[in-house]
């Protein structure tokens, strides 16, 4: 199980890296998805550009009520950074569900986001957080929302030559409760479904609610039907149960060896219920 030969570059700057990528090189970050595929020779890039160690992609900072996370920040750092644990606990909690210790130590936020595995964990949280994704190429920078970024199975808004350089998430306003609930496929640890919920109370009612779902279909999505069924309604079990029933509205569910489309759909409803309950209990 040996990769095909390739050229390997370690540019000192992001600009240099983007130049190589513009010429057709493939970015390598933590390599948690790419390297196994290369070993099986399912992927055979000719030129890898190691962007994991670029200081320009390794930072977590707060600016103007937003948290900016460099693409090369590892899942472990997302999971454990005090700034994120304190100010965006949903993202930190979600990171803690990815793979295992070793994978979280090495895999990166930007790598996972760019890979857009339909069963990856982050997309659910990023959808719920209405995250912004910063894309850069040699030609310049643009910012898209998570909803715009994740298009289809392994398909994103990234254009050739472009990489994810940063993810921007909001500083969670006080009184918001968040939760990520995942039904994991026990062999691989990927999500069969994963549901990220953010809940604000408005007195005894639901205020703003965001729900992001991964694993159910070809790409992550905002479960807007669930959200609409909650906002302004009493924060009760019945409301949650009724709203969660809409988790899969308008979505064509995946089917594989581990879960048929019907079962996945049912799980999406169950885990949406759990995520909402959990988020509600964490909201002040």
């Amino acid at each position: 199980m040996i990769a095909n030969p390739f050229e390997y570059s370690t540019p000192a700057t992001l600009a240099e890296a983007l130049g190589l990528i513009a010429d057709g090189a493939k970015p390598l970050s933590g390599g948690m998805s790419l390297i196994p595929m290369m070993k099986l020779r399912l992927a055979s890039p000719e030129h890898l550009v190691d962007i994991a160690r670029l200081p320009e992609l390794n930072y977590i900072r707060e600016e103007n009520g937003e948290l900016h996370i460099g693409a090369a920040v590892t899942h472990y750092d997302v999971e454990s950074a005090p700034l994120l644990c304190g100010k965006c606990p949903l993202l930190a909690e979600t990171a803690g569900h990815i793979g295992d210790i070793q994978v979280r130590n090495r895999g990166t936020l930007g790598g996972s986001v760019a890979h857009a595995d339909p069963a990856a964990d982050y997309p659910a949280a990023l959808q719920a957080l209405e995250a912004k994704i910063v894309l850069r190429s040699a030609a310049g920078e643009r910012v898209v929302t998570a909803a715009e970024f994740f298009i289809d199975t392994f398909t994103t808004a990234l254009e050739p030559g472009e990489i994810v350089t940063e993810v921007v998430v909001p500083v969670e306003p006080g009184l918001t409760g968040t939760s990520y609930q995942k039904c994991l496929q026990p062999a691989s640890g990927f999500a069969i479904v994963g549901v990220a919920a953010r809940v604000r109370r408005d007195g005894a009612n639901f205020g703003a609610v965001q729900v992001g779902i991964t694993g159910l279909t070809g790409t992550s999505y905002r479960a807007t039907a669930v959200e609409q069924a909650l906002v302004g309604k009493p924060a009760t079990d019945e409301t949650i149960r009724a709203a969660a029933a809409h988790a899969a509205d308008g979505v064509e569910a995946n089917s594989d060896l581990h879960a048929s489309a019907d079962y996945r759909t049912s799980l999406a409803v169950s885990y949406t219920t759990r995520a909402l309950h959990s988020a509600l209990s964490r909201s002040a």
């Binding site: 199980m1 095909n4 062999a187 060896l257 581990h258 879960a259 079962y263 049912s266």
Partner: protein
């Protein structure tokens, strides 16, 4: 010469029965052990095998020119080159068995995904992999068949064209009067029960290093095997080389579970390539190859019928067993379902059986011995059937078991399948398990849970097994075992066992036994195994036989060397009668003594050689057991099912096992825990799934669910002890007990949980989706 079975009384602390930490561990925890992949020889070359991506296809052409042209590639061989190499052996001797030629490289057709088609040899493993990618094979794809019942249906594609019915053999076993039993029956229950294909997945994949020395005509082969001597004999035959110029070494072996109780194409192929190129050659199996071409386990479709009286008395059992054999026979492939048949009666006192086995070819990798080998399938079947009968009769599953157990006064108990159970007290062991888990309290809790709409289950398995393989009449290559005990002139002791432990810990437990018997410090004892140039011929490690057969052989060797020590000691002490104990030979009349170490030294120096004795202090013993042993036990699992998601939570797991006497209970615990993990793996998670074209769709850890730490419950393990009379240690064997006992307990628990919904049976694995379908995802 008389030997004594009674333990010698000494004032030294006895080590047998102590929870000693293992002597093999220092090398393993420091990363300094040598597995096959760690073997590095000068000028070693590397082999990578090109394999079929198709389940059934004719080979139209193979183009090796590009591969050969790659710098660093030394040779490429295909099926056309391997003239004169024997086929992969099968040790079964069933009448009328159809044996397809199993060549080490495909000839003109491939029969399964992974079938070896060519081998690329290079100076470097990376280059060999590149070369393999350049071999171009054109296939003419044929229709495959992967489901054994579909394979038996009229008009199914023929796996081997010469046998269009896909039947490799049929095997019948009848005992008692089955027609009378069914005529007398007040109730008959029937159930189709499958036992899905499992992938053994030893953490170390297979691997081979072959070193042919042309001038000596000698071969040294390092291979990850459980049977070094048998493998040498069989490979020597395939390769046409002399056994006495063939040294086979099983170095550190990273788990086997039966999957390395075999002789594989790649072992012969790597050796043959080394002979061809005159250089050492290494082949290491990838995990993907391990999934594709190392044997699988289980693979049954069973139709059971049980006849009983209304009071729960079982009268008889019928079984039609369809065994998915795969495309070829590996070493024991056809034998395994016959073991299932032998085990059919379980622990129960009925004497009428009728069994039919249909061995079926499919375009899949062969099935063969995987931990338990035939017995888990049978035990799962009978334990499920007993529960189904109890449900039919409205009886408690514990009560129906008590009613049918073989009683202690019936031993030795001849079964309807021709076995002779050695010893046991099944009711006692079961009662202990029930008491440990508070069975009656649990049933009350269950009633409350059900009233509250919760799905709680209590699953019982009272299992028996056939272990300590076994008498030679029942074991294809001989069922005896061997041991050598030798004092070195310095007084240190070396034990050579014919078993081939690979994790079981006999370097420790055999040293415990030796230390106790000889009265020498355990640190002075070394236990060696797995090298045919060092160790006398042996059979190997499988069928829970290391301690009960290999340990017994060692015990007899120890008795014999003790006699020799006494003779030499008496001569040295000029005494007529001496006593041997605590490492000292004592003249009780004078109080004079010599140590065993002094005796050994003297025996080598020839200081005194008693009349009729030979110098030196070495004894080799080959020991043939008169019977199998029959461990048994009771496993009880409490579970709760989440009706909404189908998730199963294991609340408690109590196991009471009777494996006879134990040399080292710490190691026994380890065997039981590991066995239980594999048994739960079958019940809940693992399945080798082929699609209709022969693709193994659970062909990597991505999709094949291995038990992980977070999935395993805490196992509360305890024991009863009825020593086996079959061997002097009273040991029965423990390697497979956990695997056999756990599976039906888990399935029975979940079926019990779902019984209020009318569920009687669920086929394994009990995936959450299957459960969810049965609960309709209803909210409890």
């Amino acid at each position: 010469m008389s030997t004594t079975f009674a333990p010698s009384t000494t004032k030294l602390e006895k080590l047998v029965g102590k929870r000693l930490r293992r002597r093999e561990d220092p090398r393993l925890i420091t990363g300094t052990a040598t597995y096959v992949e760690d073997v590095k020889l000068p000028d070693m070359h590397h082999a990578v095998i090109v394999r079929s991506p198709h389940g059934a296809a004719d080979i139209r052409s193979i183009d090796i020119s590009k591969a050969k042209a790659l710098p660093g590639v030394v040779a490429v061989f295909t099926g056309a080159d391997i003239v004169g190499v024997g086929t992969v052996p099968c040790g079964a001797s069933l009448p009328g068995l159809r044996r397809p030629d199993h060549h080490i490289l495909a000839q003109d057709r491939v029969y399964l995904v992974g079938h070896p088609v060519a081998v690329v040899v290079a100076t470097d493993r990376y280059i060999a992999a590149d070369g393999a990618d350049l071999v171009e094979v054109e296939y003419d794809i044929k229709q495959a068949v992967t489901d054994p019942e579909k394979a038996l249906a009229p008009g199914a594609p023929a796996v081997h064209s010469q046998w269009p019915d896909n039947v490799a053999f049929t095997f019948h076993q009848n005992g008692g009067d089955i027609d009378a039993a069914f005529a007398e029956a007040e109730v008959v229950v029937k159930q189709r029960i499958t036992s899905q294909r499992l992938v053994p997945n030893a953490m170390e994949t297979r691997g081979v290093v072959a070193d042919w020395k042309t001038n000596d005509r000698s071969l040294t082969l390092y291979t990850s095997t459980q049977i070094p001597h048998l493998a040498r004999t069989l490979l020597a035959g395939m390769l046409g080389i002399e056994e006495n110029r063939f040294r086979l070494i099983a170095p550190e072996v990273g788990g086997g579970f039966g999957s390395k109780l075999n002789v594989y194409s790649e072992e012969a192929l790597t050796a043959w390539v080394s002979m061809k190129i005159g250089k050492p050659v290494k082949w290491i199996e990838s995990r993907r190859e391990n999934f594709m071409v190392t044997i699988h386990g289980r693979g049954h479709v069973d139709y059971f019928e049980i006849a009983a009286k209304r009071d729960g008395t079982i009268l008889g059992l019928k079984l039609k067993l369809i065994q998915d054999l795969g495309a070829f026979h590996q070493l024991l492939t056809p034998v395994i379902p016959t073991l299932s048949v032998l085990m059919m009666p379980g622990l129960y006192n009925f004497r009428n059986i009728q069994a039919e086995v249909v061995g079926t070819f499919t375009n899949c990798v062969p099935t063969d011995a995987y931990r338990g080998a035939g017995r888990p399938e049978a035990t799962h079947g009978i334990e499920r059937m007993v529960d189904i009968l109890a449900a039919e009769l409205g009886m408690d599953p514990a009560e129906i078991r008590f009613k049918n157990f073989v009683r202690p006064d019936q031993f030795p108990f001849p079964t309807a399948t021709g076995l002779n159970y050695d010893s046991g007290d099944y009711a006692n062991t079961f009662q202990k398990a029930l008491d440990t888990i508070d069975y009656h309290g649990l049933r009350k809790q269950q009633a409350e849970a059900r009233a509250a709409g919760r799905l709680m289950g209590i699953g019982i398995s009272t299992y028996g097994e056939i272990c300590a393989m076994g008498p030679s009449v029942a074991t294809p290559a001989g069922g005896w075992e061997s041991a050598t005990v030798k004092f070195e002139p310095s007084g240190k002791v070396t034990v050579l066992t014919g078993t081939s432990p690979h994790g079981q810990g006999q370097e420790t437990s055999f040293a415990q036994l030796t230390a106790d018997e000889l009265g020498v410090p355990i640190d002075d004892i070394v236990v060696l195994h797995g090298d045919t140039s060092i160790v006398q011929y042996g059979i190997g490690t499988f069928g829970s036989r290391n301690t009960a057969v290999g340990g017994a052989a060692l015990f007899y060797a120890l008795q014999e060397i003790k006699e020799k020590l006494k003779k030499f000691g008496a001569a040295m002490l000029k005494a007529e009668e001496v006593e041997l104990g605590d490492g000292v030979c004592l003249n009780p009349k004078t109080g004079e003594s010599v140590t065993v170490q002094e005796i050994a030294g003297a025996a080598y120096r020839g200081v005194v050689i008693p009349p009729g004795m030979d110098p030196g202090m070495v004894v080799t013993k080959f020991w043939e057991p008169a019977n199998f042993t029959y461990p048994f036990g009771a496993h009880i699992i409490v579970s709760e099912v989440d009706a909404e998601t189908g998730d199963i939570e294991i609340k408690r797991y109590v196991a009471v096992d009777d494996i006879g006497n134990q040399l080292n209970p710490l190691l026994v615990d380890g065997q039981l825990h590991g066995g239980a993990a594999q048994g739960l793996g079958q019940a809940l998670w693992e399945q080798g799934v082929y699609d209709d074209n022969g693709q193994l769709v659970t062909g990597e850890f991505m999709d094949y669910t291995m038990p992980r730490a977070r999935m395993m419950p805490w196992i509360e393990s305890s024991h009863t002890c009825t020593p086996s009379p079959v061997n002097p240690l009273g040991a029965k064997g423990v390697g497979e007990a956990g695997t056999i006992g756990s599976t039906p307990a888990m399935v029975n628990s979940v079926v019990d949980a779902l019984s209020p919904l009318g569920v009687r049976h669920i086929d394994m694995p009990l995936t959450p989706e299957k459960i969810w379908k049965l609960t309709n995802g209803r909210n409890a």
